[in-house]
């Protein structure tokens, strides 16, 4: 009799459920929408950078993982590489926005296009809602936070590997 190891369906975006990621997400929302206006200053000015850099690569990782799931391809072996790539892309993009005027303009226009979607449907002038960003090289101190995601994804991999064989294939198919 052969016993096959249990096939565990990976939870897409599970790294975002880690307490570190959840705290970062809550801080990002709270700081952006409450604390910055209530307590303007250096701490609230930098807090969102650190929190955003922590969770955004995990968001990219989850999107990529979902893409793999849709195509039926295995994501397990690419997970860490994807985490590293997501962190690197996030860090590079952040550095570009904060360190160059061209990057800041791209960010303004790109994010503005998304934020202004409601304007397009309401008949208001989309040009009136360009996103705003302050180019500030001192914000680059937060760059290492982008790589917290690599650690979180690594934790997840480690947790999965000793006891079970992770699979991208839904358990109902096994």
């Amino acid at each position: 009799v052969t016993h096959s190891s249990p096939r565990v369906q990976r939870v897409i975006g599970e790294a975002l459920l880690h307490p570190v990621a959840l705290v970062a997400l809550v801080l990002l929302v709270l700081n952006d929408h409450v604390l910055k206006s209530a307590y303007p200053g250096l701490v609230t000015g930098k807090l969102s950078d650190a929190a955003g850099l922590t969770v955004f690569p995990l968001f990219l990782h989850a999107l990529l993982e979902a893409g793999f799931r849709v195509t039926g391809a295995s994501f397990t072996r690419w997970s860490r590489t994807a985490a590293l790539g997501g962190a690197a892309i996030t860090a590079f993009g952040f550095a570009l926005v904060k360190g160059s005027e061209r990057g800041a303009d791209l960010f303004r226009n790109g994010l503005g296009a998304v934020q202004c979607l409601p304007y397009a449907f309401s008949g208001l002038d989309p040009a009136a809602c360009q996103a705003r960003v302050v180019r500030d090289a001192t914000d680059l101190w937060a760059l290492p936070f982008a790589f917290v995601s690599v650690w979180l994804v690594g934790l997840r991999q480690w947790k999965e590997s000793p006891s079970s064989t992770p699979s991208d294939v839904p358990s109902t198919h096994s």
Binding site: V8, V11, G41, D136
Partner: protein, 167 residues
């Protein structure tokens, strides 16, 4: 926790992260500084004068207000500013007799000329043209510069942004 529940929670976390990333709202305060009134002498109709100003900040200059007032003489003057600084619709707008005009908003749509990287100096020129009047006249000119402050800070304008006339 059941895998289905974890997936539901993780999906919510992914959605929340996406929304939080898109709805990010950097906060801004403005620091402003203005020149003391500068008097510029102009001849009769058609004569021009030029005044150069320097603005210094370690952030982005977001607005320039130019107020010009004809304080002696009859007729009117026009403020002619570099297009890079002023929106086209404001440039060259005639000033009513004895009145003031402004604010002129700087073009903040990506021109590099109005962006400082670190502590820097920005020079800009305000040109005045006497558009009517046969006698010499004096124009009082005030330039006010607003800059975004970083980190939501409400900075003291005295040291955050400076604008001065260049002799």
């Amino acid at each position: 926790m059941a895998a289905r529940t974890r997936q539901l929670l993780a999906s919510l976390a992914v959605l929340a992260t996406g929304l939080a990333s898109v709805a990010t709202t950097p906060c801004f305060n403005s620091a402003t500084a203005q020149t003391p009134p500068t008097t510029v002498e102009l001849g009769a109709q058609g004569s021009e004068a030029s005044v150069v100003f320097r603005a210094r900040t370690d952030s982005r200059i977001e607005s320039v207000e130019i107020t010009a007032r004809l304080v002696s003489g009859q007729g009117s003057v026009e403020v002619i500013a570099p297009e890079v600084w002023l929106r086209e619709r404001d440039a060259g707008r005639p000033i009513p007799d004895g009145g003031a005009v402004g604010p002129f908003l700087a073009d903040v749509n990506g021109t590099t000329q109005n962006v400082c990287d670190g502590v820097c100096a920005e020079l800009f020129e305000v040109r005045l043209r006497r558009s009517s009047g046969m006698d010499p006249g004096s124009v009082e000119l005030i330039v006010k510069v607003g800059a975004e402050t970083k980190d939501c800070a409400d900075r003291d304008s005295d040291d955050y942004v400076v604008v001065e006339r260049v002799p």
